[in-house]
């Protein structure tokens, strides 16, 4: 118990290696999307200014979509399948899984779909 107080005190006491004059600037809490948007704008401006086709940016590093045929798997069990429920687009392996898919509580189907980013997102 006294342990954590000690540890905390040691961390929060004025640290010798920090300049005494240092005051942390007021920081804005930015979310991932904001950071990426700002960066995209900055890159756009920069490219307008002096175009550089080989510029490496965070966006340009992103891997392209796959060109191979995608395999489909049962959303419940993860086994390979080709069946898809017409009610809620869930993939299922067999009759037993379909029984589950058919009688799913409202919202659960969306949770399953969210696992493969196929859910409906309201904006």
């Amino acid at each position: 118990m006294s342990n954590i107080v000690e540890v905390s005190d040691r961390l929060n006491a004025p640290l010798p290696f920090k300049p005494p004059s240092y005051k942390p600037a007021k920081r804005r809490h930015r979310f991932l999307r904001q950071i990426l948007n700002d960066e995209a704008k900055r890159i756009q401006l920069k490219q307008q200014h002096a175009h550089d086709p080989n510029l490496v940016t965070y966006q340009s590093l992103s891997a392209p979509p796959s060109l191979r045929p995608t395999k489909t798997y049962c959303d419940i069990t993860g086994l390979p399948t080709h069946y898809k429920s017409p009610h809620n687009q869930l993939r299922y392996y067999d009759k037993e899984c379909y029984d589950i898919v058919k009688h799913m509580a409202p919202g659960v189907d969306q949770q399953y779909l969210a696992l493969r980013s196929a859910n409906v997102v309201l904006k």
């Binding site: 640290l15 290696f17 965070y58 590093l61 069990t77 086994l79 696992l115």
Partner: protein, 739 residues
Amino acid sequence: MANKRTDEELPPRPAFPIPDFPAPTQPEPYYASYETGVPIAIDLGRSTTRIGLAKETSPNNVFPTVMSRFKDRRVNRMITLVGNDMYLDNVSKSNIRSAFDGPMINNWDVIEKVLDYGFLHCGVSSQGRVDNPIVMNEVLATPLQQRTSMMELLFEAYNVPKLAFGADCLFSYYQNGGSTGLVIGTGHDATHVIPVVEHKPVLSIAKRLDWGGRQATNYLMDFIGLKYPYFPTRLTTFQMEKIKQDYCYVSKDFSEEITHYLDLENLEKNDIVLEVPFTEVVKHQKTEEELQLEAERKREQIKRLHEQARERRLEKLVQKEADFSYFTGLKERMKSMNKREQIDVLRNEGFQDESEMNKHIANLEKSLKKARNEDIGENTSEEPPSFPLLEVPDEQLSEEQMKEKRKQRLMKANYDARMRAKQEKELAKKEAEEAAERDRKWRESDLSGWISDRRERLEKLIQRVKERKRLKEELTDRKSRAAQNRMKNIASLADEDRGAGRRKKTGNVTIDNDPNDTFGANDEDWAVYRAIAREEDDDAEEEVQQEILKIEEELLEYDPNFTVEDTLQRQFDWRNSLIHRFLRGPRNFDPEDQHQQHQIHINVERIRIPEILFQPSIAGVDQAGIVELAEDTLLRRLPGEKGFSGDESTEMMKDVFITGGQSLFQNFQERLDSDLRAVLPVGSPLRVRRAQDPLLDAWRGMAKWSLTDEARHSYVSRQEYAEYGAEYMKENNMGCVRL
């Protein structure tokens, strides 16, 4: 029966505890031999931070990049804990703050605390500054804002003399002595595929797959959450991560292995049972004596209830018999009446016409027959009791005797009813015996015909069960045909009952004040609901089940082609249920067992989670998997790039290097090797290797690199920072790009 597997033959599956964080007994250690001027290498990972002076071979401190800030009630003060120290206290665990939103830093206060903590533990003792060059990792081609903020922090809050950035997987490659090769770094938030030619990374064709350890853990967590929606405890991210690390592995041949993963034989090998700790509720064990007493009491009660029911049934039977004889007598008498009288009599009895009465009588007869077959208590005495008073006319009897006579009349009625019931029963029994005899003869003379008849009947019964189930299901759907029909019936019934001359609703009539709506004024109105009630078919279903069982038994006995496996019950056996095997593994499930309630089974997930790196589409990530990325890089992107040829590609195949946390999955190397071999030209000199220590080599590479000449030219000094600003950066071979 010989091949019937029983549960007793199978030993129970071992259940492993779900690991939790081993609480450190001591606070994080401090470094004793601090020196100024020696570079400090910081691998500020999204999950784990490693920090230490470059002269060491291993980082001094390895701790999770988290902070926890909370008010401690016991001492009434704010407490701030970082890294492993957080686990010293239980309250702090629920107040964890991360510095990251995805791969980006968004909480710089946490980062500052983490760095404070890191430098403190490195024993930095210089005054007013951290007098050491800093080598730190950053996200490859990180957004400028991230780097600017980090430089600001390091130069202004710590006054560091100079610093350099790089990508962790390239540091790891450097540590492992690579010069030309394809680096695949699987981090906590992303996976990079970076070609390196002669120590120089070709970043223009490097690719990032947005899938890392964090996403994999979250995916597993969501998947398990959906698999066991009613699991009593919530598993923490830490536990999930541990489960992933301990039990997931890369399948060498995924499409083949997954197809058979839920087979019983495979589950026997690969199903993992995990159990969370819980406090067992011990049920009060009753003694033998108590149990006996209880059973006795129960039996007694049941007996009494039976007797009462029997009495009631008998009373009803007598009543019915009286009714029956009354109406048949009436019918007889009516024959000698004229039309008018007949109608009067019928009206008095509440019938519309004669046919209605006949129907009533027929119904009575039917229910009588049924009632007689029910158990109404056998008269034990063989001798018929005598009722002497019944013969004596009323006038000769005293008050007392009259009472006695009434009683005797009742008793006689009871007795007669019983006797008639007995006869009825005997008749039924005889008929059944005869039928059985006929059946036996048929079987003996024409076995195949008999069997096909039984099979047909069984088939029909099963079909009926299915049909009923389907109908029930359809009724739950408002739009189905069955449900629509039902609605129609309701509507027409309601209309019929109201009569034809009903006026149309006018004015502001609501359901509450409609003067025409007299529904419910008469109690019999509610019978409409009984008429349209969904078939209460529990009893009927039970009957059908009994019959199916009976036929199955017969077939089992006489049909050589009908085995236990063919019975309906066997088809619903847990072994045949895919979902059962998926949820509960290769053993039966006892929902009462407290241990089993607190267990989860990990089976398909074991290979599914690591597979996402190879097939990101499983998790809905619209990017190519690492094999496709590597193939494209080796065969297309690199030869297409200016200044490179196929020779570099061939050279690169000789050293495909994997590092980072996810490369620790078992078989990762073998799978990558076989998948790449499948797509590369025949005879390619492919060689896949893994970092010596996929977790710490990045830090070691930083430490080693920080002392080299190259590093000396790559550092940005405080002076340069002050002069040129944060956008000024020197590119180096460790993946630091000018933004």
